[in-house]
Amino acid sequence: MKILHAIGLTLLFLLTTLSSSGAAEADLRAIIAKFATVTDFSETGAVVQELTATGDPAVERPLAALADGNLYVRTADSMVFVGKEGDENVQLFDPLSGEPAGEASEDDITKISVNNTLRRTIRDALGTLTLGSKDPTVRIAAADTMFKTPDAANIGPLDAAIASESVASVKALLEQARAASILVSDKPDADKLAAIALIGARGDRDAVSLLTSVEANASGAVKDAATAAIANINSTLALWDAGQNIWYGISLGSVLLLAAIGLAITFGVMGVINMAHGEMVMLGAYTTFVVQQVIRTSFPGLFDWSLVIALPLAFLVAAFVGLIIERGVIRFLYGRPLETLLATWGVSLILQQAVRSIFGPTNQEVGNPSWMSGSFDVGQLAITWNRLWILVFALTVFGMLVYVMKRTPWGLQMRAVTANRRMAASMGIRTPWVDALTFALGSGIAGIAGVALSQIDNVSPNLGRGYIIDSFMVVVFGGVGNLWGTLVGAFSLGIVNKVLEPYAGAVLGKIVVLVLIILFIQKRPRGLFALKGRAVEA
């Protein structure tokens, strides 16, 4: 017991010597305790100001918690804690040391509420406080914040930080933040001109934003320099904008390709007008939802793998449903396109209502794994990870499908049956089974498309509706029966759509694309890549 006591005392001693000083900590605690009595946002803001005015890095923890909505007051004794929501109770931590301090039920504590203005104040304050952080990413964030909210008072701390900075990229950002601060200070014009040159070289939207406000408030040489720098950046950005539009087009194209690729089999190769195609996509998305539900409740650690696990399952579920539809309905209707259209439309309504009855009419939440969230910059292009992965995925699926069709015996049989059914049957191919499996393959691919689309769209019973028209458009435009046509069709429609959109708007852009397709089909009724030969006449 005594030993424990001694260890405790030593620890306490160590703690007090490690923290800046005991008295300062007591001061901080006194300020933090004021959070317990705030009644509105302006009072909370006043306490935040007081905390940041101490300049003590230790205030980072409570302020960050406040900004994230994790700062609580215990009703019983008005103590302030950082909280972390657990399964039932909220776990409490000391706001300065971060030591665990027990837990409390949600009824016993009140959250200190924040609004956007407060969040912004805190973020700016933390920017200055975290300049000396050991983690380069935190320093980058700090430099970024200080660049966006320039303040003449920042010049001193930034000078110090630049002097001690070892990473070149961080140093450059710090220098830009310093330049921004110089622009709002009362330094001589020569310094400001140098600062404008430095910021002009940064060349992004934030630089334009900053220079625009400088331009509005300055006069003489500084104003002219700012105007010139803005014009310069804008002309470069215009080029990047064009690149951005094309990337958006490629990304939209990959979504169209994914949605259409299954249809390219069922409609393109088999000639079945399959109105239930969108519902296969929906089934794939719901499979993802179910997989994620199971993972959330039973294996939370596997969440980042949920999509990989969902892929084969979605394929199997959709392929199985497709098989049933083919065996149960479509095989009786080959060669009767109108009846197929109506029957598959009916099937699609049944599937939608079935999903609505089982899962309810509301949207289901499908989460993005961490590797599919956020974005990265290439030059001035912001590329979001989920779009990039969907592009990669669409191309992979396409590649595999082409391989199956062109290089495997099954693909050969499929093509043989499509080209000449009677001849194929005479050669010993079981055409009914080939039909069933081809339809199942097309449906299964629609299912895995659903896994990808669940990442960017609503998972609701109506999911398939949004894609069915686009899918038919892509397959018809690309040329029925030609996989490569579908690929080219999807990407050209995507790019045309996205290049038009900034000028014409989304609504008019879509109309223009539809008109263009109608004109194109008038000219080339069989699409971009028409199949030639006897199969076409059959």
């Binding site: 509420s113 209502q353 609701s460």
Partner: protein, 436 residues
């Protein structure tokens, strides 16, 4: 107000009609009950929003019956499914009134469905309670509007953003789905912002089609518009279904609420249930009710709802509260009139006052709109809203906007002797013209 359509829906409306007929409940002939019609889509694109309202109405009717019914009779719900098909709304309304002889109808969500049933209600002289926020510019004798008019949602929301607490916004993006509600609301907002001294180049208006899912260009345009050195905010009248991809794209492109907040008029608890709300913390919504409002009435309502629907995770939302208010008002008016005869009930409705769920009373005004508080909420990580601002008093629904040249001289008063929904105070004549 919200809506959706697709060309395919129209192509095979016949099939949908058949589906709708199958689902509609059989009407039982019984004179000892009072029938209440429920006209909400249970299939098709709008089922996502309207099914909940059907359930909420069934719950309210159950509760009234448990309290002993109305005028000594039990209430009986007649549920029909107009299947998100606008012409079918009119047919189903006619069926409810002529065949089932309902005393009042609670229903509709989209403005186009409301417009499609209006002639039926005035021809057959029945009552419709419309529970959704809408664009205004309408006041009908047979309709009671329990959702918000633009001045009960859009104008206070913009006022909040312009205030110091809201970030003193100077530059505005009006982003909407391309149909009547966003277009009219944005027209009103544009006129309002200009009257507050906002320059035309500081307002960007953009529309997207229904169910739009590829928001990359729009979000990067917002980013670009927001980099002009002035505080920027987005006012979103984007339709329910398109919101999820919109917010996902905002999150992925790193637009934070502290930098460019998005104020939404069509995003409620129900819509947020479909997505991970963590990247959206701090974005805003304006409504007259939030599930998180902590009043005894609301706690009881939520508990009753969970019990009725047998699911503790189902959220409540603003249109549900509107039905709660509307239904209680109707009950009170029937008791006051001593009959369910629509003519007498319509006259008895004006002035009826019932508790709402946010701790006050809502009153039916002579223009058939109600008084409500306006709440501004911030999205929280758990998909709920936290109220950050509330109007000090109740706001009275203004059917004819004061900011549109065509409607600023119009008023509506359904009490005798005026009895007019569009009285022009300049010319002194009934029958002025609105914008739609």
């Amino acid at each position: 107000m919200r809506g959706n359509f697709s060309t395919i829906t129209k192509m095979v409306s016949a099939g949908v009609v058949a589906a709708g007929l199958m689902i509609s409940a059989p009407a039982r002939a019984a004179d000892d009950t009072i029938k209440v019609g429920i006209l909400h889509s249970l299939s098709g694109t709008m089922a996502i929003s309207e099914t909940t309202l059907k359930d909420a109405m069934l719950m309210l009717i159950d509760e009234q019956n448990a309290k002993g019914g109305l005028l000594g009779k039990k209430l009986e719900a007649v549920v029909v499914d107009p299947a998100s098909n606008w012409p079918l709304f009119a047919e189903k309304a006619r069926e409810l009134i002529s065949k089932d002889k309902v005393a009042a109808v609670f229903g509709c969500w989209t403005s186009v469905s409301r417009k499609s049933v209006l002639p039926v209600f005035s021809e057959l002289d029945n009552i419709l309670f419309y529970p959704v926020q809408y664009e205004g510019e309408e006041s009908e004798r047979n309709v009671f509007y329990t959702g918000a008019a633009p001045n009960q949602q859009a104008i206070p929301a913009v006022d909040y953003l312009m205030s110091k607490d809201g970030g003193s916004v100077k530059r505005w993006v009006l982003e909407g789905t391309d149909y009547v509600y966003p277009r009219t609301t944005n027209k009103i907002l544009e006129a309002y912002l200009k009257s507050k001294g906002v320059a035309a180049e500081d307002i960007m208006t953009n529309y997207t089609p229904f169910g739009f899912s590829d928001w990359q260009t729009e979000v990067s345009a917002i980013k670009k518009f927001g980099s002009a050195g002035k505080k920027t905010a987005v006012v979103s009248t984007v339709n329910g279904d398109a919101n999820v991809p919109f917010y996902k794209e905002l999150g992925n492109q790193g637009i934070k609420a502290e930098d460019i907040p998005v104020m939404a008029f069509s995003v409620g608890e129900e819509e947020l249930a479909g997505l991970d709300a963590k990247p959206l913390v701090g974005h805003l919504a304006a409504w007259n009710y939030f599930e998180s409002v902590s009043t005894p009435e609301n706690k009881k309502f939520i508990a009753d709802w969970h019990k009725f629907i047998k699911n503790n995770k189902r959220t409540t939302n603003d249109p549900m509260e509107a039905h709660y208010i509307g239904f209680n008002m109707w009950v009170k008016a029937v008791q006051k009139a001593g009959t369910t005869d629509p003519d007498k009930v319509i006259d008895a409705m004006v002035g009826v006052s019932v508790p709402n769920l946010t701790g006050g009373y809502s009153t039916m005004m002579p223009n058939h709109h109600i008084t409500k508080p306006v709440l501004i909420g911030e999205i929280q990580a758990n998909g709920q809203f936290e109220t950050v601002s509330k109007t000090p008093g109740l706001v009275m629904g203004d059917e004819w906007s004061d900011y549109l040249p065509d409607s600023k001289d119009l008023i509506s008063d359904w009490r005798a002797p005026l009895s007019c929904g569009n009285f022009n105070v300049k010319t002194g004549k009934c029958g002025g013209k609105g914008t739609n």
